[in-house]
């Protein structure tokens, strides 16, 4: 990233700044740029012509038309009579749902596996090693197909596999106990809880700043916030209760049910991402030199303190960027949902393209959504990196 800055009497005005940004060979670069523009104009003109020949009008007017297809599951109400825009919205919501839940579960599983891999126990460590190798050396799409096939060969609800009397596995989906608040739609209180957790995490970091992660106090703050949520809700007259699914007739009733497609996609993505996250956690912790452990021990810190005050803050600096890129991978990989029938953005856009013929527009929407997610994340990442770098240098 060397910049040629030309000294001169005029000083670095906008023109000379532009000139130094362009650098050498401005004419050739301009020609290249025009060439790229012309290429795109040529391809775009051809596309418009082809669409015209097929009797299609380019543009996004079709979004307000009635979409005449059903979507297997959606976070908000959608029926075949609604517009394409609403259908695509349902698809985006489904993508975000699987990505958010997937990232959370993959982090929990991945961190647990990473720590297990570092444990002194050879059997456990080699087991996790085998798990990681197996998952990283087979295609994700194959893993998704396999999970989908496994879920579809599970017994029907009548003979569903049961764990601890509250989790049911059947070919109609997975049933889990759920928390429900009477009189309040689930997604509202779920988002309230999520907001509360997020707020406490941020607050606890502000309050107990100094160490990057002050686990016990953060955990206390989160629990406190949850209790506060619960108290507020109950005092407002809502009753929270745990609902446990139960077999009834030919089906399983109550609780939280995951469709087979969602369950297969979620399990596949989580298991796959947990392998890379466990490696990230392991490499992050191992990146802290053993001298740091020794020095901290020599200062008389207890192992838990060493981990919390010395090792984790340094390891997190290595772990966080890699973790974020794992989350991005998981989000992008959720596009494979189209192959196993979960109605995510790609799948809905695909159906839209098939029914309207507006292929170009559908792909532009897919690309725009994923691009804005990854650009937003990388912008946040850059901010984070700048802060971490500054801090590291400030403390040196």
């Amino acid at each position: 990233m060397k910049r040629h800055i030309q000294p001169g009497p005029s000083g670095p005005g906008p023109v000379s700044r532009l000139r130094s940004w362009i650098g050498p060979l401005p004419l050739q670069q301009g020609l290249l740029f025009v060439g790229v523009l012309l290429l795109f104009a040529f391809l775009g003109q051809n596309t418009a012509d082809s669409m015209h020949r097929m009797g299609l009008t380019p543009g996004f007017a079709f979004l307000s038309h009635q979409a005449n297809f059903e979507i297997g599951e959606s976070l908000f109400s959608y029926s075949a009579g609604d517009s394409y825009a609403r259908a695509l919205g349902a698809g985006i919501a489904n993508t975000i749902k699987v990505a958010v839940v997937g990232c959370l579960l993959a982090t929990v599983l991945g961190v647990a596996l990473g720590i297990a891999r570092l444990s002194g126990n050879l059997l456990l460590a080699s087991l996790v090693h085998g798990y990681v190798e197996l998952l990283r050396n087979t295609p994700l799409l194959l893993q998704l197909f396999l999970w989908s096939a496994i879920i579809h060969t599970l017994p029907p609800p009548r003979g569903a596999y049961t764990f601890l009397g509250s989790v049911y596995l059947s070919n109609r989906g997975v049933y889990l106990p759920s928390l429900s608040v009477e009189g309040l739609p689930a997604f509202i209180w779920l988002s309230v809880v999520a907001l509360a957790v997020l707020a406490t995490l941020v607050l606890s970091r502000r309050l107990f700043a100094g160490s990057a992660l002050y686990l016990p106090k953060s955990a206390g703050a989160v629990l406190g916030a949850l209790a506060l949520c619960y108290l507020t809700l109950t005092s407002l007259g809502f009753a929270a209760s745990v609902e446990i699914p139960a077999k009834g007739g030919f089906n399983i009733r109550g609780g939280l049910s995951l469709t087979p497609e969602f369950a297969a996609l979620l399990i596949g993505l989580v298991v796959n991402a947990s392998a890379s996250i466990s490696e990230i956690v392991r490499s992050g912790i191992q990146s802290v030199k053993s001298g740091q452990w020794e020095a901290a021990r020599a200062l008389g810190l207890k192992p838990a303190q060493i981990l919390r005050l010395v090792v984790l803050p340094q390891a997190l600096r290595v772990i966080t960027p890699l973790m974020i890129s794992s989350f991005l991978d998981l989000t992008k990989n959720s596009s494979l949902a189209v192959a196993i029938g979960y109605p995510d953005l790609v799948s809905v856009a695909n159906t839209t393209a098939n029914t309207t013929g507006q292929v170009l527009e559908a792909i532009i929407i897919i690309a725009a959504v994923y691009l804005s997610i990854s650009l937003a994340v990388s912008a946040v990442m850059n901010l984070y990196n700048r802060r971490v770098v500054l801090r590291a240098e400030g403390k040196r």
Partner: protein, 357 residues
């Protein structure tokens, strides 16, 4: 796509195992708990995959109440899973292609054969592969619609890597250059391709490219997919190469320039040899990613290894043995990619060893 290199494995010996398993009551408990978990998970799988499995016979033997895995199915559909719809009497050709690719990879994997002479060898090999598959030059022609299975997976990966390499090199250099417009073009290309899922790129190749070409011009479906795969990976490879370029201290470039070398000579003689050597293990890891990601060709209806395996379970005489088909395909992928990742570790240690002074 983000892969992290594993630490080099340490050879296990019995003393270490005893230490690692039972050196205290806590560790012993963990060992026992792990053993229980393994047995709880592995015993049912073992029963299904080995004890109750049907190793030979017809699909009727596999559909009885007690039957476990149906390996007879894999035996019957073996050739289909490997070569898909390639005409059966010509299947020696894709088999030869697989053998050729394996031989070529083995030779290229050994550092003592590394030289620029590999480039023409590879281009020639790609031509031979294409001739063998398409069957021009006196052989019975086979349309690309009938190509499939393992040769597709391997050939698309290898051609993708081979053609992505020069593009990625140019992109990485453009991204590092001090020419603003060129740099921005490279950044936009790389970020867009890395920001969208590969499925979107394949959809563009499948659906948009035919519309964007002038009427009358047509590109074969497989070739379009190949172009999509190539461009997609060139963006990832460009970032890998850029990482390599960044480790070269600027003093080296300045020294080379002050010796009177031109910028091209500086790149060719000083910068690139060091930068590329530094990222060879990362490139091998990326190649594994390419092999794994070519499985997405299944989504757009190309019969690669995964799609051939999936399709084999839709045969009316052997209906519904999906798990067995996927496990077989998984074993093939695992064999390829595990070898690759071990090789990458070996190479890393070897290269690091030779750099230590």
């Amino acid at each position: 796509m983000s892969q992290i290199e594993l630490a080099p494995p340490v050879a296990p010996d019995w003393h270490r195992w005893r230490e690692g398993l039972f050196n205290g009551w806590a560790n012993g408990l963990v060992t026992l708990a792990t053993l229980t978990a393994i047995l709880w998970l592995a015993l049912p799988f073992f029963r299904w995959a080995v004890v109750d499995a049907v190793w030979s016979g017809t699909s009727a033997d596999c559909t009885t109440e007690t039957a476990g895995a149906c390996w007879a199915f894999v035996g019957a559909k073996f050739r289909f899973m490997l070569f898909a719809f390639f005409p059966p009497h010509l299947q020696w050709r894709p088999a030869l292609v697989v053998a050729l690719i394996a031989a070529l990879l083995t030779v290229s994997a050994l550092p003592r054969f590394w030289s620029f002479r590999l480039v023409p060898v590879w281009l020639l090999a790609l031509l031979v592969i294409w001739l063998l598959m398409a069957g021009t030059a006196g052989m019975e022609p086979v349309s690309t619609n009938h190509w499939g299975g393992l040769p597709i997976t391997l050939a698309v990966s290898i051609a993708g890597l081979a053609f992505a390499f020069p593009i990625a090199l140019l992109l990485a250099l453009a991204r590092q250059s001090d020419m603003g417009i060129l740099r921005s073009l490279a950044v936009v290309f790389i970020e867009v391709l890395r920001g969208v899922p590969m499925i979107a790129v394949l959809y563009v190749a499948m659906l948009i490219v035919p519309m964007a070409l002038p009427s009358g011009a047509a590109i074969d479906k497989l070739l379009r997919a190949q172009i999509g795969v190539t461009l997609f990976f060139s963006a990832y490879l460009a970032e890998v190469i850029r990482a390599g370029l960044q480790v070269i201290p600027s003093g080296q470039k300045e020294a080379a320039l002050s010796l009177g070398l031109s910028r091209i000579q500086m790149l060719r003689l000083v910068v690139l040899p060091q930068a590329l050597t530094a990222v060879i293990p990362a490139i091998v890891n990326l190649s594994i990613g390419i092999v794994l990601n070519t499985s997405l060709l299944a989504v757009i209806g190309i019969y690669d290894l995964l799609n051939a395996a999936k399709t084999s379970a839709t045969d009316p005489t052997w209906l519904g043995f999906y798990s067995e088909a996927y496990i077989f395909a998984a074993l093939v992928y695992f064999a390829i990619c595990f070898t690759g990742s071990r090789y990458s570790l070996w190479l890393e240690r070897k290269l690091n060893g030779s750099n230590r002074y």
